[in-house]
């Protein structure tokens, strides 16, 4: 009898299942709207020119090697990342009260934050609140770390816009001092972001209730195309005097996906807390990965630290977000022109890589089975999967399925 005979088969990852199905589908008209990665107008992955240039420089650098990074990560990356998120003139940076540790992209940053919070959160029974809905991995990450996870209202499923009243009400009703997971911009999966005014309201309620903000920032620059605008919420909270954690990813905005490049930032009330906080973050990161992966960090640092490459990167991000915006408008316009039942403004108002279409699971299944359109069961589409070649087909398919329901 095998020692492992008691280990059961685990359920397959939903999104993975979808991509397996999609890859197996050889129909020419197939459209993959499940993928969580940027695609160009030909439906191809896009490696940013500044990334290629950075790689070229690294390959020609005689001092390039594969030595271990320090436990904090590649300093040129962590410094650059700090400035990117908080702004180079951020008082938090100037007052030396930000500690940044490099992580295995955004997921790794979430995980380090979750483990750190489990050990050090106050009150010790504080629950972690995630938006309803949120990125599928949030619940898993925080529950694995041993937190109780609760939801706050977020998406108004009727209008597919922000249920700000519901959200504020839930934040007010929660016990004092809870941990609130906030998407800095380009909410995943809905694409629904609070306005600046709404962020101010959220900040006020959280201050009143003594809640602790954890920002997940995976799309800075990718949402509006403007890195400062996309960092508004984080910088607002810092200005308001909050202590907070920020998980930052370069997967999408620099297209570094598989290189796993990211950081976790801890903003503390004062500089004298940094030695303690940094030593504990270092310690627990050391026990998970020892040190983070170097190559992607060196690429990102090269881009962040070179003024010309940095400017070019900003333009690339603007291009990506503009193409996505164009596709949003194109889909909405076509659905309106086809007079598809329902309202479709939310498709162009939502922001970032994803759109919560409002399609039901039954409709999603039909789109997949009959029209070879792949999207997740919650009706989320990756707008990056839309392009000028497939937009008409997608609009017509959605129109057909909605009419038939």
């Amino acid at each position: 009898m095998s020692y492992f005979s008691g280990v059961p088969q685990a359920p397959a990852d939903g999104i993975l299942k979808l991509s397996v199905l999609s890859r197996a589908d050889t129909t020419p008209s197939k459209v993959d709207l499940g993928v969580g990665a940027y695609r160009d107008d030909n439906g191809q992955p896009w490696v940013l020119p500044v990334v290629r240039e950075a790689e070229r420089r690294l390959s020609e650098d005689p001092s390039f090697n594969h030595e271990y990074l320090g436990v904090g990560g590649f300093p040129a990356l962590t410094d650059g990342a700090q400035q990117l998120i908080f702004g180079s003139s951020s008082p938090a940076i100037g007052q030396n009260r930000v500690y940044t540790i490099q992580t295995i992209s955004g997921t790794g940053a979430n995980m380090v934050a979750a483990v750190f919070l489990k050990q050090f959160k106050k009150p010790t029974d504080a629950a972690v609140y995630i938006s309803k809905p949120t990125w599928g991995n949030h619940r898993s990450i925080f529950e694995t770390a041993g937190h109780e996870v609760r939801e706050y209202k977020y998406c108004n499923y009727e209008t597919l816009t922000l249920d700000i009243d519901g959200m504020l009400s839930d934040l007010r009703a929660a016990p004092r001092g809870q941990i609130i997971v906030l998407h800095a911009c380009a909410h995943n999966p809905t694409g629904i972001d609070p306005t600046e005014d709404q962020w101010q309201q959220i900040a006020s309620v959280m201050a009143d209730r003594g809640h602790f903000p954890f920002f997940d920032c995976a799309y800075q620059g990718f949402a509006t195309g403007d890195i400062d605008r996309d960092a508004y919420a984080i910088r607002l909270f810092v200005d308001r005097g909050f202590e907070l954690l920020v998980a930052e990813s370069f997967a999408k905005n620099m297209g570094l996906y598989g290189e796993r490049t990211g950081c976790l930032h801890a903003v503390c009330q004062s500089a004298d807390l940094l030695p303690m906080v940094s030593s504990q973050l270092n310690r627990l990161s050391r026990a998970t990965i020892s040190t983070a992966s170097a190559y992607g960090a060196k690429i990102a640092a090269t881009v962040l630290q070179d003024p010309r490459l940095y400017e070019e990167w900003l333009l690339s991000m603007a291009d990506m977000s503009q193409r996505i915006k164009t596709m949003r408008d194109a889909l909405r316009d076509r659905l309106v022109a086809l007079e598809t039942p329902g309202t479709w403004d939310h498709v162009s108002q939502q922001i970032g890589m994803f759109s919560f279409t409002g399609l039901s699971k039954a409709q999603v299944d039909t789109l997949r089975e009959q029209y070879h359109l792949y999207m997740t069961d919650d009706g989320r589409i990756s707008v990056a999967g839309l392009n000028t070649h497939n937009i008409d087909y997608v609009a017509q398919s959605i129109d057909a399925v909605v009419r038939a329901s």
């Binding site: 095998s2 020692y3 492992f4 008691g6 280990v7 059961p8 088969q9 685990a10 397959a12 990852d13 993975l16 990665a37 992955p45 490696v47 290629r52 790689e55 390959s59 090697n65 594969h66 030595e67 271990y68 990074l69 436990v71 295995i104 997921t107 790794g108 995980m111 050090f120 898993s140 694995t144 006020s204 201050a207 308001r240 005097g241 202590e243 570094l256 996906y257 290189e259 796993r260 503390c268 004062s270 807390l273 030695p275 303690m276 906080v277 030593s279 504990q280 310690r283 627990l284 050391r286 026990a287 998970t288 990965i289 020892s290 040190t291 983070a292 992966s293 170097a294 190559y295 992607g296």
Partner: protein, 420 residues
């Protein structure tokens, strides 16, 4: 309200609402333990003496004392760059071309169809996945490591929620293996216990069992129905031969009695350190079990980091599967191992030549990157303060830090602090 309290009130309003909370969320966070090895490196960096030697480094150095990018690795990296590959996410379990080649390297030709293997964040990440897996599926939540062991083992397993116990291993009398103590302790463990074994080049002592000793260890592990979790961070780097260095692991797998898990690192043997290249694997009963195990491993990995870094895996995959690069690589691994062996011989030879009364056989008996010299903390401190030679206070020397240029000075320094 007094003037003072109203002044405080108004000033806190200016600074923002949360400033009224006087206490930081982190006020009770204590200072974490200092990193011993980091401390050595920092002291070494501050030292301005030209003769200074850093023997704390856990990475290979050339005879010129420099980091070494293997030619096979550099070539593979060039090949990859020329292909202009994309940077899409890898699957959760990593790059298949790499993981299957890595499994073959470790296990040889046996059991490959029933090995559940995933790419990992180097050896540490593999240990973490293994620890998490065992915490979830193994009945007794304790793992037993050799005394001493790599400094991070305890931290990794404890953070997984496992208790960490120890079995006797190093004999400070002989600077060799305490086999009797080891076997006795392993036998005394509750049936079905988790036993961590260093596959080769034990860290920090450099003391490896002989093959006869391994056979005895294997027998006890099997008889007690224990689970063998191998940590293999130095395959090829110990003896210079990858098959020889994997022989203990393969012997366990061939016998197919004790369950086997493996944490495999390419940090040292491919010099890929910072790219974090490794695998975690479990040997299943058959391919159906392999699939079940892999499904559970994926569940553990997803909330840790979603999927692993692609660059290092591409390099390693290229090196392992391209015949020319593989042969080049095996030659380079042997060269690195040989330089280490030469430096061991040189250090021992010099100490004997200086007329040291102590026995230094262990320097050449031990194997791999590290040597447990037997130096006391007081002697280690003197070496640092008087002779500018830096090593960890357990007396561990990284042989990679020794060169033909510094071995004489090192021998003289060690002789001076040990001769009385």
């Amino acid at each position: 309200m007094t003037m003072l309290s109203s002044a405080l009130k108004s000033s806190s309003l200016l600074r923002g609402p949360s400033a009224a909370r006087c206490l930081s969320a982190w006020a009770q966070v204590e200072m974490g333990p200092p990193d011993a090895i980091l401390g050595i490196t920092e002291a070494y960096k501050r030292d301005t003496d030209a003769r200074k030697i850093n023997l704390g480094v856990g990475a290979y150095r050339t005879d010129a004392g420099k980091p070494y990018v293997l030619k096979s690795v550099a070539q593979a990296e060039q090949n990859i760059l020329q292909q202009s590959l994309d940077k899409e996410y890898l699957p959760i379990t990593g790059l298949a071309k790499f993981t299957s080649a890595a499994a073959s390297l470790a296990y040889g030709t046996q059991a490959l169809d029933r090995v559940a293997v995933t790419q990992s964040i180097s050896g540490t990440g593999a240990l973490r996945i293994g620890g998490a897996f065992l915490e979830r599926f193994h009945a007794g939540k304790a793992i037993y490591v050799p005394g001493p062991t790599w400094g991070n083992h305890g931290a990794v397993f404890r953070d997984c929620g496992l208790k960490v116990g120890q079995y006797r291993y190093f004999d400070p009398q002989t600077n060799g293996l305490n086999l009797a103590g080891m076997l006795e302790d392993i036998r005394a463990l509750p049936k079905g216990s988790l036993v961590l074994l260093h596959a080769c080049a034990h860290n920090p002592t450099g003391v490896d069992p002989t093959s006869a000793q391994w056979a005895e260890i294997q027998k006890v592990v099997e008889e007690c129905e224990h689970v063998a979790f191998f940590d293999m961070a130095y395959q090829g780097f110990a003896s210079g031969n990858v098959d020889r260095d994997a022989s203990a692991l393969r012997s366990f797998v061939e016998a197919n009695r004790a369950p086997v898990l493996l944490a495999q690192s390419f940090a040292k043997n491919m010099g890929l350190y910072g790219e974090r290249v490794g695998t975690f694997s479990i040997v299943g009963a058959d391919s159906a079990e392999r699939d079940r195990l892999l499904s559970q491993v994926k569940i553990l990995v997803r909330p840790m980091y979603s999927n692993p870094p692609v660059h290092g895996a591409r390099i390693a995959g290229e090196v392992l599967t391209d015949a020319g690069l593989r042969e080049m690589w095996l030659g380079e691994v042997k060269e690195m191992a040989d330089r280490i062996i030469r430096m061991r011989a040189a250090l021992r030879g010099q100490l004997e030549e200086l007329g040291s009364k102590k026995s230094w056989n262990h320097i050449t008996d031990q194997i791999g990157m590290f040597c447990y010299t037997g130096l006391t903390p007081a002697q280690v401190d003197r070496l640092a303060s008087e002779f500018h030679v830096y090593l960890t206070r357990d007396g561990r020397v990284s042989i990679a830090g020794i060169t033909t240029g510094n071995v004489q000075y090192l021998a003289e320094s060690i002789h001076k602090v040990t001769k009385d």
